[in-house]
Each structure stands twice: as C-alpha cells, then as structure tokens.
Point group: C2
Chain length 224, copies 2
DNA sequence: GAGGGATTTGACCAAATGGTCAAGATGCAA
DNA sequence: TTGCATCTTGACCATTTGGTCAAATCCCTC
C-alpha cells in the first residue's frame, strides 16, 4: 500500500502512529519550521526540508502529501503554543501581576521560539491564507473574552482606562517585534534576546513602559 | 542596442531618463511593491509584476535586468520614505510634542503605505539580505543620534528614565503592527486603519499608552 | 525465519519561472 | 520623410521544483 492513510493494523500505541512515524513527523515539522520561517512558504523547498530532516524528498512526501500539507501542519503545530499565554490572564488576579506575567511570557516565547513568531508573522502578512478562520474564530473569541477581563479591571478602578484591544495589540506588537525583527535589533544594538542581559533589559523596559502606560506600577521580580 | 546602460544621446532632461523610461520605471516599481509585499520575494513572479504594470515580461526586463534588481530598486524606493519620520525628532522640541508627532507620523505611514511596511518587515524577517548594510550603517547612525536626543531629554528631567532604544523599538513595533498585521486586526475588530474612526482611536490609544509609559501627558490634538 | 505490511528511495514527469534574443514597432531629430 | 535609437514583444531555453511511481529494503509478527 502507498501512503499511510489507511493504516492497516494500526491500533498501535499512540494515536495510531508507529514509533517511526512519530519520529519522522517530528523531524519533518522541526525542519519545516526552520525552512518556512527563514524563506517563507514560496521560498521554502520540499527538498531542503527533507534534507534538513535527514530523509529523501520522496520519503517526506510519504508522510505529508504536499508542501501545503507540511505548511499547514507546521502552522497548527506552533499555533496552540503561540496563543497559549493569553489564556492564562486571570480575571481574579491583580492587573499589574497578570499583565507583567503575560508580557514576560510573550518575550520568553520570542526568545525561545523566534522562528515560530516569524512563521506566524509571515502567514498573517500574506493575508493569513491558512489561518484566517482561526483568527476569526478561536482567536477572536479569546480576545473578546480577555478584553472583557481588562474592561472589568478598568471598571473596578484597578487600572487606567484604555481600549482593551489596543492594549493587547501593543503587547503583541512589542513582544513579537524582538523575535521578528531580531536581525534589525542585532544590527542596531549588537545584541538580541539570546543574550541574557539584553533579555532582562528588554523585559524590564517593555514591562515598565506598558504598565506605566496604563497607570500601574510594574512589580519587581528580581532586585536589579 | 540592447539594454539601457549605454544611453547614447542621453543628455535628455531628467537625470538621464526619457519620459517613457520614467513612466515605465515608476509603473514597474508600483507593481513590484504590490507583488513583493503580497507574496514575498520568492512568491512574486516577474510575469505578474509585468502584467500589473501593463507590459510584457520582456519589456520589464529591459528596464530592470533581473528580478533581484527590481526587488532592490523597490526596497531602495520605499526605504527613504520609511525612515524619514525619525529624522524629524527635534532635540529642541518638547518630548511629548516630538514623540506624539513621531508616533502619529508612523501610524499615518502605516495607514497610507501598508505595503511598504510589509515589504520592509518581510525583508528584515528573512535576514535582511539586501538591506543589512543600511541597517548597520545609516540606520544605526540615525538611531544612535536620536537615542542621544532622548537621553538628553531624560537627563534634563523632561521625561522619565527609559532605555532610548527600547522606546524607539516600541514605537516601531506598535505603529508598524497596524500595517503588518492588518489582516489579523481586521479579523479581530472588523476594522483597520483605513477606517477614519479606527485610525483616530489607534493614534489616541498608542500615543496615550506610550507617552504615559514614559511619564508624559499626551497633548490634545483634537478635542474628543 | 518467512510473510507481509511499513518505510525508503531514485528515476522520472510536468508545470512554473527567470532570463535571452532577434526581430519588429515606435518616437523623434534633422 | 527619413534614419536611427529607443522601446516592445513573442518565441524560446535552462533550471528549479512539486509531485508520482514502481522497485527495493526494513521491521515486526507469527
């Protein structure tokens, strides 16, 4: 049989995936993230992804039926991780705590998964051909929910009045900027988030600016 | 003769460009901006750029010797406009005035030239293969100069202490976000900067947040 | 250790695409 | 109007690249 759609005796162990399948899919997705984030969808080649994953192009196409399929899978793979932090905003927490934690998480993700950030940015900038439904569906629900949380904080007098979505956009913009434009940042400052000192400085600056911006005092994590 | 490098009797009028040359180059650059910003360098095709510019691919290649040449020219064409606003930061002005004017200008550019913003973002995210020298040269000098201006404002007690580069990055990030991620913003809010009301709201929100963030009061341009 | 499905690959194909070229059309100065 | 340079294009080419296929090879179960 060709292809692994009909998985014969597949009552295997894990979600119908053999050990080999699991390993290879993972290798492919890792390689694909690198390629797609570096070159964009069109610029990436199946051949290079396969090479990076240590297998032949044919074999890669045995696991994913097309370049677009790899791309979609890669996107799906990073998306949940990427949107996770926002979900942790806790309505019962203190705004300064919650928001600074959120900002820190986002900057950590920019430091740890800059490729995911760039892939996501790329997809959205091209018009979000693959993930528009997710943006309009799941993400919109999430943002609406968290906007209401912020609105409640404002109503309760816990923070200054801001348009909640703009606050969210500002946090996204600033934190992701350090991943997406890291080349520019490196060109200008000589450093990027992979430098621990610069990382600390960035968290401090961004947090201070945004929290001050909404009339809050940033909590001290680590004394200087 | 083939190609227009040796321009024979070219003491024409304007910089050695005939009327036809000027018109066509301009048509090409406009079309190229659209294509490159929508599809990225690899995704763009010379054929489509030519079609958009209303001429044959061959003719386009008569004006620009290669796809890369078109790309470079497009980039150069937008770059000066793109970096211009920062140059207007006036050391002798009041920080709140100067910065809010800068922020407004940047958001105006995001509204008016979102494609330029996306093209620039794309280029940088791919590692700035073409413009790295400019980032490390001209842009770095400019940023250093303006960082010093901000530093002076701080020293003079005119604004709160911030790391100047991070303030600049924050302004870039937030303002360009509204162009680069306009699809996402539209998916989430139903609007983008082309909506005058949303434009006003964005300027107000971003300006307020950032100026508050550095201990300044945003000046009122238009009463409510 | 034999049988059979899962995995892997090289050979191959068709379409897309950047770029060349020679010939023809056009604009302009004298 | 004529002559020449500029401008324009269709035909064509080489390369890249996504994807197919049949033939191995591997792995696991019985």
């Amino acid at each position: 049989m060709t292809g692994l759609s009909g998985q014969g005796s597949e009552a295997h162990k894990n979600g119908g995936l053999s050990r080999i399948q699991e390993r290879n899919r993972s290798l492919i997705l890792d390689a694909a993230l690198g390629e797609f984030s570096k070159k964009g969808f069109s610029g990436a080649t199946v051949e290079r992804i396969a090479a990076e994953a240590g297998m032949s192009k044919s074999n890669l196409l045995y696991y994913f039926s097309s370049k677009e399929a790899i791309y979609k899978a890669t996107l799906a793979h990073i998306l949940e991780v990427w949107l996770a932090p926002l979900k942790t905003l806790d309505p019962s927490g203190a705004p300064s705590q919650e928001l600074s934690a959120y900002i820190r998480q986002k900057i950590e993700m920019s430091a740890e998964f800059p490729e995911a950030s760039r892939l996501f940015a790329n997809e959205v900038m091209q018009g979000a051909p693959q993930i528009l439904p997710i943006l309009e569906g799941e993400l919109k629900r999430l943002v609406t929910e968290k906007s209401a949380v912020i609105e409640d904080w404002i109503t309760a007098g816990k923070m200054q009045r801001v348009e909640p979505v703009h606050l969210i956009f500002t946090i996204w913009a600033t934190t992701q900027h350090y991943a997406d434009f890291s080349i520019q940042i490196k060109a200008l400052t000589g450093k990027d988030l992979s430098d621990p000192e610069f990382f600390r400085e960035t968290v401090a600056s961004v947090t201070a600016l945004i929290l001050n911006g909404i009339g809050l005092t940033p909590p001290q994590d680590t004394p200087a």
